[in-house]
Symmetry: C2
Subunit: 362 residues, 2 copies
């Protein structure tokens, strides 16, 4: 009998890798088979700290783990500037890839990654965990124009992703280093906001994108805080405003308003708790007589999830990989397409910034 | 013994006047003493429909009621284009004024109104009811830099005010008629969003204001939907995005994020219910270990109010008027200043629109 389990390795022992290691262990169709760091000691420490089973193979170099025939999927939480090198190499070794966001420094790099994955027949997925929560699927139904109980068409989207950081972070963290993550908050946090706006629009690319003139950068020019707008002209006007910042209190807001209703979340990227998540849905709101109140309050809709969203992400990737590996399927184009569109908008925001906040057509 | 009650008249029997008539009857220091319409019949119908007491004097012209020595305050819910004429005339007759928003078509008109009020020693206030809710006062404390349990400094503000309308409304309602309310949704709804952003910034005017390029207009060029940004450079960067529309489902969102916390409301203009209102306050949020959730959820803070916010507005105005009338006080400059700053930003958004969405400095 074929073992249906898909075997993951982790390339680089970043902090986020702890969460994904746990997710791999929780996903019923995945197993963590190897980890690699630039030093064996670091990898051994990671294994010990995360109580990884003894069966997990430990590698002191990224190259070595890519040669391991017992690895199906490589999870890449490395700094963004290293993605293109290691993801392309993994694909060439016929490894499927799970790549942390932002996927690349620009769409040219991302295309090198996607081309390598396509030509080697391997599945690509980025690490946007929230897209795998059942809450996300459920809300998506509200955007369908055929759903008379939904909010479509969508007219307005607002999304924020902010987190407070320390002066040390702003000075020296990987995510604000020009040689490591030169997209700063736009890449790390804006990826989510842009992704959420695209998701709400069924992944239709906006007509234009513009950075608003309130950008904050560190001494090395890396974006610490930025606000931008995305605009769609067809089939009807829609506008999204996004705000991301390393300088503010933790927020991850998503508010979407359409013709017939609205949707509000304050935890769209990481739900408040692991086992269920909720959203506020308002449909058919009117004012009471004399406008002294509303006829209803938003309904708080709860969505239970048996597995945390990151485990659902791993499970979905493992499902796709198993059907390629064992069933001869082709890789799904859904996930690469979502990543590419997100990257295109990230690039456009950056270009607008470089052009002095001029709108950039897509 | 002096009667401390302040005597209101209503100039024009607009729909909103029904709500304010009730508010005057609820405010303990105010009484409705007269109403005026362009026809006696219309005024009589309004009195009957709203069960006004027989003591309320009925006038068939606006001029006449302004001659009534038993009137202290004139409430003006007329179309915006008529404000300057009738409010100036009321002030010249030494009547205090409560003026519906938007106060004027531009700041030049507003200044004529405020100059008339100042030179005649009468109190001016606009009809922004939400500013009088105790919830608003309570939230204001969260913006103080000296409040270590608050959210200051404020970095980001998002506010929306949208309402669905009918095709008939979009074609012929007062609020979309060039000769009556040429500011359209920007005046009617944007007044609230702009006011909320200014309020959150302690009424510091923004450095620049810009309209975003998603404006929708009707055949006569009136704004039906618009999005704009307000930006402050000093003492620190703050950005506000505002969205107002006659084309979307009912929403009145206010989200404010600062260094140490955030604040969310979905009913900031008209609370869901009359007797209490709430806001969501998040302070010191962090992620749980491995970022698998949050250490806390927003706290839903409830604020009870004995009187509806519109009655509190009337009560506050009546208090100011009584102390001018009976105690020789000078009119408060607080309310005219708030209205003037709001109007300045409304004008700047309109100018940015005319300039092809260029930022306008204030």
């Amino acid at each position: 009998m074929v073992d249906k389990t898909v075997r993951f390795c982790i390339l680089g022992c970043a902090n986020i890798a702890r969460k994904v290691a746990r997710a791999i262990s929780l996903a019923p169709n995945a197993t963590l088979t190897a980890i690699a760091s630039r030093s064996v000691t670091k990898a051994e420490n990671f294994a010990a700290e995360n109580n990884l089973p003894e069966s997990v193979r430990i590698y002191g170099s990224y190259d070595q783990v890519l040669e391991d025939p017992g690895v199906d999927v490589v999870y890449v939480p490395l700094p963004t500037s290293l993605h293109v090198r290691w993801v392309v190499m993994a694909a060439e070794k016929k490894k499927h890839v799970l790549v942390e966001k932002p996927v690349a420094l620009d769409v040219a790099e991302l295309d090198r990654i996607l081309e390598a994955c396509e030509s080697n027949g391997v599945q690509f997925m980025d690490g946007s965990m929230w897209l795998h929560h059942p809450r996300t699927d459920q809300m998506e139904n509200l955007f369908s124009l055929t759903n008379s109980q939904g909010i479509a068409p969508v007219h307005f989207i607002h999304s924020s992703s902010t987190m407070p950081t320390t002066p040390q972070f702003l000075d020296s963290n990987i995510r604000v280093k020009p040689d490591l993550d030169s997209l700063g908050a736009l890449g790390d946090l804006g990826w989510y906001c842009i992704g959420a706006a695209l998701w709400a629009k069924g992944y239709q690319l906006p007509t234009t994108v513009a950075a608003l003139p309130d950008v904050t950068r560190n001494a090395e020019g890396i974006i610490l805080s930025i606000t931008a707008s995305m605009q769609w002209d067809q089939p009807h006007q829609t506008i999204a405003t996004i705000h991301c910042s390393f300088l503010s209190h933790t927020s991850m807001d998503l508010a979407i308003c359409g013709s017939n209703g609205s949707l509000h979340l304050k935890d769209f990227i990481i739900p408040y708790q692991e086992t269920s998540a909720s959203y506020d849905f308002t449909f058919g709101a009117k004012f009471a007589n004399l406008h002294i109140g509303w006829n209803l309050r938003p309904e708080e809709v709860h969505v239970a999830n048996k597995l945390p969203q990151e485990a659902l992400m791993v499970q979905e990737l493992a499902r796709l990989v198993a059907s390629i590996r064992d069933g001869g399927s082709l890789p799904s184009t859904k996930w690469p397409e979502i990543s590419r569109k997100t990257q295109l908008v990230v690039d456009a925001v950056k270009k607008s910034l470089e052009l002095g906040f001029k709108p950039v057509a897509l």
